[in-house]
């Protein structure tokens, strides 16, 4: 099984911890992380992850802004971005898809649902 690099973006340490534990079930996932949208854009350009899993409400740059920046950049436009957030209101879901995200998940995350979605996007 080929190695897949996933960029996990969340300002909440708890969210990063639980997602790390969920991904540890898959031995071929390599995780890198960022704590806000600005750092996510920088790391995505530098490290070209296979997928980005990103929160919305974050300091410095929100997940929506970061997603828009990534989708406008030829280097990163093809990387699937999944937004993972506490914001489940319809308005946020619509804004999420308008920003160019591939999928939208709400917290609290379900591990099986998340892993299935990742497998689908990573072609496994």
């Amino acid at each position: 099984m080929s190695t897949k690099k996933i960029l996990l973006v969340d300002d909440s340490c708890t969210a990063r911890l639980v997602n790390r534990m969920i991904f540890s079930q898959k031995s071929n996932y390599v995780l890198i992380s960022a704590v806000d949208g600005k750092e996510a854009v920088e790391r995505a350009k530098r490290e070209k992850p296979d997928l980005i899993l990103m929160d919305i409400v974050m300091p410095r740059m929100t997940g929506l802004e970061a997603c828009r920046v990534l989708k406008k950049d030829r280097e990163t436009e093809k990387i699937p971005v999944i937004l993972l957030t506490t914001r489940g209101e319809e308005q946020y879901v619509q804004e999420g898809y308008a920003s160019g995200c591939s999928d939208y998940l709400t917290k609290p995350v379900n591990d099986a649902e998340l892993l299935d979605l990742l497998k689908a996007y990573l072609g496994e």
């Binding site: 340490c13 708890t14 969210a15 911890l17 534990m21 969920i22 506490t86 709400t106 917290k107």
Partner: protein, 211 residues
Amino acid sequence: MIGTGDGNRPPAKAGWRIELADGNAPIPTEMEELRVRVQQISLREQIERNHFLLMRLNAANARLIQSLEQGDVFEAIAEIIANLVGSEEVAVFDYHAAEQKFSLAWSSGVEAETLQPFLRGAGMFGRAVQHGLSQFQERQQEGALLPYEKNLTACVILKSSREIVGVIAIFGLLPQKNNLEWADYELLKFLETYGAVAMKFQRLQGRQVST
């Protein structure tokens, strides 16, 4: 395909053979295989659910440990509840046993004036302290809720070695979350003890700094 009505039975799939004894019912040995398979799926689900709970508890514990270094226990509790339970409306109250009084220690996503009536320690707060048990709105008797408690989902008692340190009040759940689930109750039970321990640690830290 099964059920096309063309009278031709489909070839059996490899590893999955259901013979029909009287044209309708599976023969007993096949029934037994099916029963065992269903049981296995159910047992596997139980183990997987437990695994997921342990991951969440592990993440919550790691965050509490981190809060001891960073001195942000209340933020850690709120983060755990937001990300793992599903509420961004949280308040933490200190309990002063000698005077049997509550005071607001910290809150997020709730208006301060909304919290004022809770300081009296009536209703779910009072029952939590009286019985030393967390109180949940969905488990309250009909008519037992006070008017200002309608949006109070849970009142989690914080106690360490039988000493009641305070309570965590959880108000509205996230829109995508309808009610508390089995794993949420387990996580809140974890916070009852270890949230209290972390709060006590932070208080001692505060005393050290001020002396």
